[in-house]
Subunit: 415 residues, 2 copies
């Protein structure tokens, strides 16, 4: 009977803990075949530092509460293992830690970079003769993993953005006669416009909305003409701009200049840039918002579909491991739009690692400022259903785990 | 049997329509004594322009749906009537329109500026011999009206800010080991820090939080030292900054340079300024968000207490009118913190108009960066309870009224 290592990686979401819940509850339901679930404190760093959390110390109630708790309950990290050639030492350390703690299953809960790490770990274990099963659990608000129909985490951000865009549009519509005529909401999405696309759903509620995608180079004149026409026709206009919106030459609308641990430029501030253009050229009164972490942490308005899928891929990881699978990822396979139906399929990590899924061109309207009916058909099921957390004294009840450390067995390791 | 004029004024809220619902449903429940409820299209401008909406054209179901619809269903405006001396013409026009449409009751749903207008109208009707009853229905997310324990609209923003601050803090806490250590959330509140104070409630959930109030001049060194200490102790820190935060000399942390119709400077961008200070002086990785309209439109996470109070003050306005009252405002009177108990009292408009209620100093901790237990006792009941809108296909069901115009009887009027 062997143990499980589970780690959360990269930017957290409103439902990554639902996947953790799926892993731990499913592992606990097989007491004869699965040992303990050890979580890495702060993701893969916890494995490298041999800083493991013994999740068996947590009560069933607290583990169940993970299903409705945003953020990463064990801590996440932005840390990409280098290639095997460049840093074999780190991979060997991982294997050493897993060996020392009888860990046979490696569950990595993350996005594209993490899928790559997970794939490398799966290869190394084979070449090093240590029988590890590495399974990737998909998670990313960016929705940019291939093969899977969508990524757990995305549906809830999409719901947050669609609902918030609708609500703010109701506000602007009320104010437009004498005050604000243009409202600009900046949302996440560095390379892929999936999150911004969700804002486009409010068109069905009669809201004049302009969406700016990273996939479509920003053309200032064309954009301003569109906003002006919307305001002249409807009295107001809502703009949803992706943080990754950029000019044809690659310059982002706003760049803060700093980079994250993966070397990606850290963005923010496209909304005030757009608002400034509206003020300067159209003279309309505007308001702008930047949702930032609020959007990906918004468990209070999570999509029920998303929560269920996040739990399901966590549970499926344990099932796949029990079936002896390695180097795979549970993936969501849609087989009906309406009513929405999906099953959990299996994708080989070799086809997942380092592949980024952008919005297909046919999901964006020809003028580049909205989403098509095909896109709406894709998005609608993902925001279906509400899954409210419990509240106490007006505030949501979210889990804070004890996170008890497993005693170390190995010498320290310099990161 | 005479008619009612109802108008929404100033910035709208998540629950101003619940007050409209309270007015209309209560008026409809007295068919023998109350005629039609006419709403001003875009607030008081609708009265000046004789652009009245006949709410009797709306179905009972649509009026009921107003209770859970954010924004201003009839349109609002930022338009402050000048003093009687400076612009007697506008006041006379109002009386003429009211006379032409048999309007005996004037219900003005707004904040401090609107209370002032409502008071002036009540005086004028007396001096002009037209028997109008002017009743102010309190509304403002800023929570800065005097006498009333709180202002409808505030409880829901407070809940949004408390919940969002908690959720984003869970996110930052997960990321802090290798990435973001400081999260900055900018909230509304030009002069009064009530909304920012709600962010301070997360302290009870173990979150290290620093709140910046307009009532406390910003001291850069002291602030940076506090954030640094928080990060060193807890690994991360959340900052909630009021848009009205300013230096001792009165300079706002961020000012966009434009002014609204009341001549108030339009603010925005304190969060990026704070984030820039953190980066420059502390070198911590940060994220920032500006909630802007999202906070005051967030009906999806409204406070049940707030919704009930908003409805109650609307209903009370009709009752007060039926009792023959003039120049008054229904006010919320708290008589127990725990369990929370309140009744609807009556405040004379002469004591409401042009009085702004700031945070009492004893609600802010001595160091100026947090809220006291007294403040928490005040705030907690206001965010109590959830009052979710209905959802269809993953989106909230919000009302969009027909807003049928009442035929005009008077010549046009130049604004």
């Amino acid at each position: 009977m062997q143990n499980v290592f589970y780690a959360q990686s990269g930017g957290v979401t409103a439902v990554i803990n639902a996947s953790a819940c799926g892993v731990i509850e499913t592992a606990r339901s097989h007491p004869g075949r699965v040992g303990k679930v050890y979580a890495g404190r702060n993701g893969i760093l916890g494995a490298l530092a041999e800083d493991l959390i013994d999740t068996s110390e947590e009560s069933a109630a607290d583990i169940a509460l993970l299903r409705s708790t945003p953020g990463g309950a064990f801590g996440s990290c932005r840390y990409k293992l280098k290639s095997l050639e460049a840093n074999r030492r780190e991979y060997e350390r991982l294997i050493a830690v897993f060996k020392a703690h009888d860990i046979a299953w490696f569950f990595y809960n993350g996005g594209g970079d993490s899928a790559d790490t997970c794939f490398k770990v799966s290869q190394l274990s084979a070449s090093m003769g240590y029988p590890l099963q590495a399974i990737h659990i998909p998670k990313t608000v960016d929705n940019d993993l291939p093969i899977t129909d969508c990524c757990p985490g995305f549906g809830s951000v999409a719901k947050y953005v669609a609902v918030s865009t609708l609500e703010a549009s109701y506000d602007v519509r009320s104010m437009a006669r004498t005050s604000t005529k243009v409202f600009v909401l900046e949302v996440m999405g560095r390379h892929a416009g999936w999150i911004a696309a969700a804002g486009g759903l409010v068109e069905d509620q009669g809201i004049p909305v302009v969406v700016l995608f990273p996939e479509i180079p920003f053309e200032e004149q064309k954009f301003l003409a569109r906003v002006d026409a919307m305001v002249k026709q409807h009295g107001f206009c809502t703009v949803v701009v992706s943080e990754g919106a950029h000019y044809a030459d690659g310059r982002f609308l706003a760049e803060q200049g700093s980079k994250d641990a993966f070397g990606h430029a850290q963005l923010g501030g496209a909304a005030p840039v757009i608002a400034g253009l509206v003020r300067e050229h159209l003279k309309y009164k505007f308001h702008w918002a930047v949702a930032d972490y609020l959007q990906r942490a918004a468990r209070h308005v999570a999509s029920k579909t998303d929560v269920e899928q996040a739990y399901a891929v966590g549970a499926a990881a344990v099932q796949l491991a029990l079936e002896g699978r390695n180097a795979v990822m549970p993936a969501i396979e849609r087989y009906s739009d309406e009513p929405y139906k999906y099953r959990i399929a299996t994708a080989p990590l070799s086809e997942v690692a380092n592949v980024e899924k952008f919005m297909p061109r046919e999901f964006i309207t020809e003028d580049g400022f909205g989403i098509t009916e095909a896109c709406k058909r894709y998005l609608r099921p993902l925001i279906l259903g509400e899954d409210y957390p419990a509240y106490r004294d007006g505030m949501p009840v979210y889990a804070t785990l004890k996170n008890v450390a497993v005693p170390r067995k190995l010498p320290a390791f310099d990161l």
